[in-house]
């Protein structure tokens, strides 16, 4: 069926209208001559049928014999399409132009992408590539991949391997970085306290301890001095001391643990407001293109007396390597009802405490060890309000490496 349809398309098909007294006779005569007719349909007095273009030139005789009139009412197929093309030359020119333009445009590199870089800057690689002719706008066959690869390898010592490949109009410079040994920072530095506290433990790995266990330090005090300690000299006291002209500054290193106190305050009313969504909501839709926002559907403001807002950004998924600049912003306004609850003093106390503890916990580092944990209810003159003071004591590392300011 399909092959026959295709054959019909290439030879061309004509829809004919047959009028006359005996169209059946015409059909039979056509059949006898082996002229293929199909899709025969009767509509009133006229009979419509399809006939192939080569057969159409042979139906003259049967038509005359059966005294019917045959009229062409439609054409379909390649010969007719070609005829149309002959008449509309610009269409063909356009098609050829399209092909040419496609060919020309795809022979240039439009994008240069760099993949696999972690620490090396992409601009540096791009600059080297551009020096060797790999830039957007360069002709594809003028790019010498090998040359660029070796040049990048030679110029950027951090690169272990580099591969340049061109896929379509995109050139990808794939880079594998060397894992370089970390260069140690040797800038002279002290260890200073980040918090007030009492030192509980002090181990100086490099440098001289400036405080000792049990000392109270303030924030910013130097804990370990970045000066070279000379224990050998101290041990050998008998020897004449070596005259020191100047201190040798080093980068201090060590562990300093201290007891640190925290205090915070929380309060809670005996009446608590609770918000609950009623289920009524409104949408506002806006189109966001770059910086400008176009409102598609607005909501009277404020939409409800009490409400919560939720903003959803909808964006089309990225296609290949380009993101869409336009996105939709949907704001949903939920109506909320406010319910006032009386709560017991115990519950209020709990709430106040949690609030206070939360405030402290944001200040305590993760590895701190909590020693004492206490709370104290404060007397208030205000009725219906409970106030709590929470204090905590922790042991934590308070050392912080600060670069020494060298004073001449």
């Amino acid at each position: 069926m399909l092959t026959r349809n295709m054959a019909n398309y290439t030879t061309g098909v004509i829809r004919i209208k047959i009028t006359g007294d005996f169209p059946e006779k015409f059909i039979n005569l056509c059949l006898a001559r082996g002229l293929l007719l199909w899709g025969i349909k009767k509509d009133g007095n006229a009979v419509y049928a399809y006939v192939r273009l080569p057969d159409f030139f042979k139906i003259r005789k049967p038509a005359l014999k059966s005294r019917v009139k045959v009229r062409v009412i439609g054409t379909r197929g390649l010969p007719f399409a070609l005829k149309r093309f002959k008449r509309r030359k610009m269409l063909l020119v356009g098609a050829v132009m399209f092909m040419l333009l496609l060919e020309v445009l795809t022979s240039y590199i439009w994008f240069v992408d760099i993949e696999g870089i972690k620490t090396i800057s992409g601009d540096r690689i791009k600059a080297i590539a551009a020096d060797h002719g790999l830039r957007s706008g360069a002709a594809k066959n003028s790019v010498k991949e090998k040359e660029i690869e070796t040049s990048i390898l030679l110029n950027v010592p951090e690169v272990a391997w580099v591969g340049v490949k061109i896929t379509g109009t995109r050139a990808v410079v794939e880079i594998v970085e060397k894992t370089m040994a970390k260069t140690e920072d040797k800038t002279p530095a002290d260890i200073v306290a980040t918090k007030d506290g009492v030192i509980t433990e002090l181990i100086a790995i490099a440098g001289q301890a400036a405080v000792k266990k049990g000392d109270t330090v303030r924030r910013g005090d130097i804990l370990i001095k970045g000066v070279l300690s000379q224990p050998i000299l101290e041990l050998a006291e008998q020897r004449p001391p070596v005259p020191q002209t100047s201190d040798q500054y080093i980068r201090a290193n060590g562990i300093v643990k201290a007891r640190v106190w925290y205090e915070s305050y929380g309060e809670a009313g005996l009446v608590r407001e609770e918000f609950r969504r009623t289920g009524r909501r409104r949408f506002a839709v806006a189109l966001k293109a770059g910086e400008s926002v176009i409102d598609l559907k607005k909501v009277s403001s404020p939409p409800f007396t009490n409400y919560e807002t939720e903003v959803i950004y909808k964006k089309l998924p990225n296609w290949r390597n380009t993101g869409f600049a336009v996105e939709t912003k949907v704001s949903v306004f939920y109506e909320v009802s406010v319910e006032r609850h009386e709560i017991s003093p115990e519950e209020a106390l709990d709430l106040a405490k949690t609030q206070a503890i939360k405030a402290i916990e944001s200040q305590i580092p993760e590895n701190a060890q909590v020693l004492v944990h206490g709370s104290e209810v404060l007397n208030t003159s205000l009725p219906g309000l409970i106030r709590v003071k929470v204090s905590m004591e922790t042991v934590e590392d308070i050392g912080f490496t600060r670069v020494t300011l060298l004073t001449p």
Partner: protein, 89 residues
């Protein structure tokens, strides 16, 4: 009778009757399509009625919106909604 003899011979050799006796083969696909092979031409064709000449009589097909598709010297395909097929000798 000559015909009877041929028929018996055909039965003996297990040759289908339609080949030996030049009979039409009529195939129906539901009431949508009706294929008549080995016909002798169309006598009448209108939308509700098709008459096809056969070797020994004629076939009258009634229905709605009948069209003739795939018309060839050997076969006729009647498409549409077939409501009746009558064989007249």
């Amino acid at each position: 009778m000559r015909r009877g003899k041929i028929e018996r011979l055909a039965a003996l050799l297990e040759i289908p009757d339609d080949i030996v006796l030049d009979l039409p083969r009529i195939t129906m696909l539901g009431n949508k399509q009706l294929l008549v092979e080995n016909h002798k031409g169309i006598i009448e064709y209108t939308s509700p009625l098709v008459r096809i000449k056969l070797n020994n009589g004629e076939l009258i097909i009634t229905g709605q919106d009948l069209t003739l598709g795939n018309l060839q010297a050997e076969q006729i395909l009647v498409e549409g909604t077939v409501t009746g097929v009558k064989y007249e000798i």
